[in-house]
Amino acid sequence: MIGIGIAFGLACGVVTAQDEEHGVTPQQIQRGEQIFLSNCANCHGPDGNSIPGVDLASGKFRHATTDQDLMNIIQNGIPGTPMPPGNYPAAQVQTIVAYIHSMKESSASARTALQGDPARGREIFEGKGQCLNCHQAGDKGTSFLGPDLSNIGGARRSADLERSVVDPSAEIRPANRTVRMVNKDGTTTVGRLLNQDTYSFQVLAANGKLMSFSKADLREFEIMKTSPMPSYKDKLSAQELADLVSYLGTLRGGAR
């Protein structure tokens, strides 16, 4: 599940329209996502549907009909409700609105139609899926090869989680890139790419060891453009996939 991220291909599809309508870029939508997940998802949930009667991904809003209405609500809150004023700069509010629009498209296209069972999903996560071979979640797992999933349910939408499971290479976030390095003696190291410069790589190996490599000492190296995580598209049934995504959605902040 290394490629967990927003459904960016879908979001980009929206952006074409958004570009024409609002002049926003994929980067702005991604920025809007970051702000949303950091500030709004605490109440609205990463899928935007945690408050009864409010589903931000539906594209329908009780108190807003225009983008300006949405921006006003984000800026000023809704008096008499728990919705607080946001006090964001105008440019940031625009990115949040753009992201909310993108939620509608991505949710409609990518969200599985099946209802998942988190308990069964956990069995898949810890068993058949072998997810703990590369990931940690709460007190489970020891590998640092893939990103820590302890809070993935609080940070990503179901649609994004599903997409990353079936197509891990669709988007690899910079913090989750892997680099493969072959020393001159032929030994190979694969690890999370933490940092690099003209002369060196800094990586986190799967065993948690921080390592620095001089490029002059390497026979070859490659920053992997595809995720080392396999696609589970043909490995899990549609129901199993829904179960797994459902379980991932429950991972919200368990410390490890």
Binding site: Q130, N133, C134, S143, F144, L145, D148, S169, R180, T187, T188, T189, V190, G191, L194, N195, D197, Y199, S200, Q202, L204, A205, A206, N207, G208, K209, L210, S212, M224, T226, S227, P228, P230, K235, A255, R256
Partner: protein, 550 residues
């Protein structure tokens, strides 16, 4: 991407390729024997003794002139004059961990300075610190780093990826509690306590479970219970806001199962009239059972402290020949201007001798109690040393080969100490007066246009057998730098002027200097990677690391 492989075989392959060497955890056994792996710097003081003495000898008095800069770590902070870089780095198996002020932890490759990760703790706005948004360093146990925060928390961070594991509140930031001290690991516990001596806090030293952050024991530096020994040394209810803060790291003797820790000043700082008595255990060193926190003994350096002298220096553990026989001692270079030797088994006072001009006392009785001569007054009293002291939090070093203690010193400076009546109000400073600073406590800028006689700095070498100053390396400006010494008899230290020096540990002769362009407020460390010895010093906003040119 590796095509045509099963999930299982692909994952197994990746794991095998990645696990070339096991990540070595820092066990407590390693910390106990940190002197046996001088390539690392595993604790605030290098070892549990507080000596800051390294067995690395690649750099010698003969070749130290060939030191050259290897790498530099620039930081975004400190953003303000009060955010001095006071953190002593840790070095663990080729990885350096340091804290940029106020609470940003950075892991870097110790050979190149390249960053692995950083962890930016965001203190709450209520955080307040009397004298700088600073942090003095980290502790490590297993794969976990421990850091105090200026908003009064202790946090545990995964040393592998900078992930926060837990956070435990130590004290309320709104009431002036902050944690600036580098924690000390003792067995499976993390020892720390709150700063806030100028806010009338209720000070304590406490042990926290390394795995969970749960408090295991607590020693009140001001006895709060009416029947507790020492409570009677506080008049009336003055103990309630008496401070006794913790802000410099202590030491641990495993053979005696005892930790030693210096305790901060009494509050209000400069008006002792409202807290008649000795005000235990402020401005003292306490010896505590490492498993329970129970007091074994104490020695109060400045009874009824009216100068804000604290006693927040590193209690250096040493086994020395004392008047013809082996003795387990504590070497304590106190802010009050006096160098002390104490028996660390019993707390017996063995020696006390000023290493700078001192006028607040003029001698000791048989038990080692100082005879007080001066106190602050409403109109102001000139007293030596100045409020920043003869030395301060900046760590000393002890070299068993030379037998000398190296003390960062403010030479012969005074303050005019004034007292006034203050009422305690939570979150406000509770000082009871003030002290003049002809040499500012915080360097206001890059310029020094003071008269030389106002005050200058030095690294001084003191013989613990006599308390005599054996040599003195003087600087025009004062120094807030810690000191490092090595088994090749070198001494490394810096100063406010922005120089970093290598001195001959036997004579004080300057053997090398590097310009670091900012004040040195941290302790230097030395370590080795792949057989190459490095010396590293934070200065200004930057960490500078040196090694011998090939």
């Amino acid at each position: 991407m590796i095509p045509h492989m099963s999930i299982k075989s692909r994952i197994s392959c990746l794991i095998a390729m990645s696990a070339l060497s096991l990540s070595a955890q820092v066990s407590f056994d390693r910390l106990l024997h940190a002197d046996k792996e001088p390539q690392n710097w595993l604790t605030y003081s290098g070892t549990n003794t507080g000596q800051r003495y390294s067995l690395l000898t690649q750099i010698t008095p003969e070749n130290v002139k060939n030191l050259e800069l290897q790498w530099v770590l620039q930081t975004r902070s400190p953003a303000e004059a009060t955010s001095k870089y006071e953190s002593t780095p840790l070095v663990v198996d080729g990885v350096m961990y340091t804290v940029q002020p106020p609470n940003v932890v950075v892991a870097v490759d110790a050979a190149t300075g390249r960053v692995f990760w950083s962890y930016a703790y965001a203190p709450v706005p209520a955080a307040r610190a009397c004298c700088g948004r600073v942090n003095r360093g980290l502790a490590i146990l297993g794969n976990t780093l421990f850091m105090g925060t200026i908003d009064g928390n202790l946090v545990a961070i995964d040393a592998r990826d900078g992930h926060q594991i837990w956070k435990t509140p130590i004290g309320k930031p709104e009431a002036g509690y902050s944690v600036t001290v580098a924690p000390l690991v003792v067995k499976d516990k993390i020892i720390t306590g709150p700063a806030g001596g100028e806010y009338g806090i209720s000070g304590f030293l406490a042990a926290y479970d390394a795995a969970t952050g749960k408090q295991a024991w607590k020693f009140d530096t001001i006895p709060s219970s009416a029947d507790a020994p020492g409570h009677e040394t506080w008049a009336g209810d003055s103990w309630k806001h008496g401070s006794g803060s913790i802000w410099t790291t202590g030491t641990f003797d495993p053979a005696l199962n005892t930790i030693y820790w210096g305790v901060g000043n009494a509050a209000p700082d400069w008006n002792g009239d409202v807290r008649a008595g000795d005000n235990l255990y402020t401005s003292s060193v306490v010896a505590l059972d490492a498993d329970t926190g129970k007091l074994k003994w104490y020695y109060q350096f400045t009874p009824h402290d009216e100068f804000d002298f604290d006693s927040t220096q590193v209690p250096v553990i040493a086994d020395i020949n004392w008047k013809g026989s082996a003795r387990k001692v504590l070497l304590f270079s106190n802010r009050n201007g006096i160098f002390y030797v104490l028996d660390r088994v019993t707390g017996e006072f063995l020696l006390g001798k000023p290493f700078v001009k001192v006028t607040w006392m003029d001698g000791f009785d048989d038990k080692g109690r100082p005879h007080r001569t001066l106190s602050p007054s409403p109109e102001g009293t000139v007293i030596y040393p100045n409020n920043q002291g003869g030395t301060n939090w900046y760590n000393p070093a002890f070299n068993p080969r030379t037998g000398l203690v190296y003390i960062p010193t403010w030479l012969d400076t005074y303050s005019v100490y004034t007292k006034r009546n203050d009422q305690y109000k939570e979150g406000n400073q509770f000082n009871g007066g003030g002290a003049t600073h002809d040499v500012p406590a915080l360097r206001p800028g890059a310029n020094n246009n003071r008269l030389p006689e106002v005050g200058s700095g030095a690294i001084q070498a003191v013989d613990p057998q006599t308390g005599d100053v054996k040599w003195q390396f003087k600087m025009t400006d004062v120094t807030d730098s810690g000191v490092l010494t090595t088994a090749s008899d070198l001494v490394f230290a810096g100063g406010r002027e922005g120089y970093f020096y290598a001195l001959d540990g036997r004579t004080g002769a300057m053997l090398w200097k590097g310009m670091v362009g900012g004040q040195v407020s941290a302790g230097p460390v030395t370590y080795a990677v792949n057989g190459k010895q490095y010396v590293s010093i934070p200065a200004g906003n930057v960490v500078f690391t040196y090694a011998l040119r090939p």
